[in-house]
Structures are given as structure tokens and as C-alpha cells.
Subunit: 149 residues, 2 copies
């Protein structure tokens, strides 16, 4: 592999492993893969590519670090805090610190997105049953969690 | 503008200014614009989108910070050190520290790419006449600088 230039084909990259999304077995997620595109010791951040199959979703989580997302393919919906947004190719999504968020592939093709994060970051927090009850008191959040199942 | 979700249309983004590429009038470059997609105080890195019109090029430069690039549209060629590579959509290019580099749009449509960099970084260094003579002693570099003019 050329460490400087890695060719892309169909959202797969030379020398980049297709990894499971999470190690954490508590995480509620479905049909999602992860590819780390850049994890450069000379940089303070990493760039990852996530791909969610139609009907799949990332885990509902929050953390102190922020996420900066650029949609690369497909269409989907995301929950950021209490807001639900439809997203499509090249849209930008900024997930602020300690904000519940989830991405869902709601079209007929995979939803693929780039996510930039600080290399040093805290571990995501998953909602407790109590958090879920609180979240669902907002009708927009309740509809997102219910309608896209 | 919604600070969380910014929609994209034709490689332009809501709330993102199209900026000139450089302030530095010494820089030799042509037909290139810059859009800062993410400059999040909670993150250590920024994500920028550069677009080079057909026949245009970025400045030939080097610096201590590294660049992590993902091609978003078009085709082009890049010089990284003494290596010339053809690049196309979604290819990855890692520019190591203190390595001369330049991107050129060599197809019929614009070459657009994302570039992740540390927020705190040193200023680019431009080649002196002496550096240029040295660089052109490598036939690959000389051909790149000559043939794509």
C-alpha cells in the first residue's frame, strides 16, 4: 500500500479495514460499519467513514467530545438533541458536546458519512431507561425513535 | 442558518463563505477557492473544502503540519514530495510534514477536495528559486511542473 495515496472504490479504500462499529455490546445499533480513513499521529483529529445499511442506525449516545459530520452518500435522518433533520449528500452536521444523537439510513441505499473527531476523546454514554423515558417526552424524539424502526 | 445542520448544494454550503485561497500575494496559484466547513472550538482540527477550476492549481508549498485530503469531485494530479499521482473521487492523500506538494485540476471539471488540518499550525513555506532548481532536477517533478501548465 502507498501510505501517501490510497485509492477509493465504491466507498472502500486501499489499506483500510472494514471494522465493526463498536466493541461495546450494550450499544443498541444495527447494520453499520466503520473505516478509519486518517489516524495521523501528526494530527490532533481522526477522520472516519461510517456506512449504515438501509433500515440501520447508529447508537443513540452522547459524550463530551463533538462530532463534525459530512454526508457522503445516500439519504437519512438524524436526531441531534431534540431536533430531527433529513440529510443528503454533502450536508454538514455538527453534534455539540453532551447532546444525544443518532443517524438512521431511511432511504433505499446505504447512508455513508465522514466523521471528524478529536483523537483524544471521552467514551460515549448510552441512555439509561430513565433517560429514554425523558427523551420520549419530547414528541419529535418519540416520533424519530418510533417511526424509523 | 441552523448551526447544527447546514445543507449542501453543488459543493456550496449554507452559511459558508467562499473565500479566496490565500492572503499571501507571493503564492503562485490559480483558480482556486476555499470554504471552511468546520472550525469548531471544541475540536483540535478544521475541515476545509478547496475547489480548483480546470487548469488551475494550488500553491507549491511545504510546512511542518500535515494535510489529510479526501477528493470529493473531479480528477486531477498531485505532487507529494517527488511522487506524481492521478487522483479521483474519494481517493485519500496524506501529505507528510515538510513535504513539497501541489494539486492540479487536470480534467474538464473542477477538482474539489476536503482537507483536514490541525487548527494550530505553522505558516506554509514557498520554494525559493534555489529550491525550484533543486526540485526540477528530479525528472518526475520537472514533468509535473511543466506538462500541466
Amino acid at each position: 500500500m502507498n501510505p501517501v495515496h490510497r485509492k477509493a472504490k465504491d466507498y472502500r479504500w486501499e489499506g483500510v479495514a472494514i471494522e465493526p462499529y463498536k466493541e461495546d455490546t450494550r450499544a443498541l445499533f444495527k447494520s453499520i460499519t466503520r473505516q478509519v480513513l486518517f489516524s495521523d499521529p501528526a494530527q490532533e483529529s481522526e477522520l472516519r467513514y461510517f456506512e449504515i445499511a438501509p433500515g440501520g442506525f447508529s447508537s443513540l449516545e452522547r459524550h463530551r467530545h463533538s462530532h463534525n459530520v459530512l454526508i457522503l452518500r445516500g439519504i437519512g435522518h438524524c436526531l441531534i438533541g431534540h431536533e430531527v433533520q433529513a440529510v443528503t449528500a454533502h450536508d454538514l452536521v455538527a453534534v455539540p458536546p453532551m447532546t444525544w444523537h443518532q443517524f438512521r439510513a431511511t432511504g433505499d441505499e446505504p447512508l455513508g458519512f465522514l466523521c471528524m473527531v478529536n483523537t483524544r476523546r471521552d467514551k460515549p454514554e448510552l441512555p439509561t431507561p430513565h433517560d429514554l423515558v425523558e427523551l420520549q417526552q419530547d414528541s419529535r424524539v418519540a416520533a424519530f425513535l418510533r417511526d424509523f424502526r
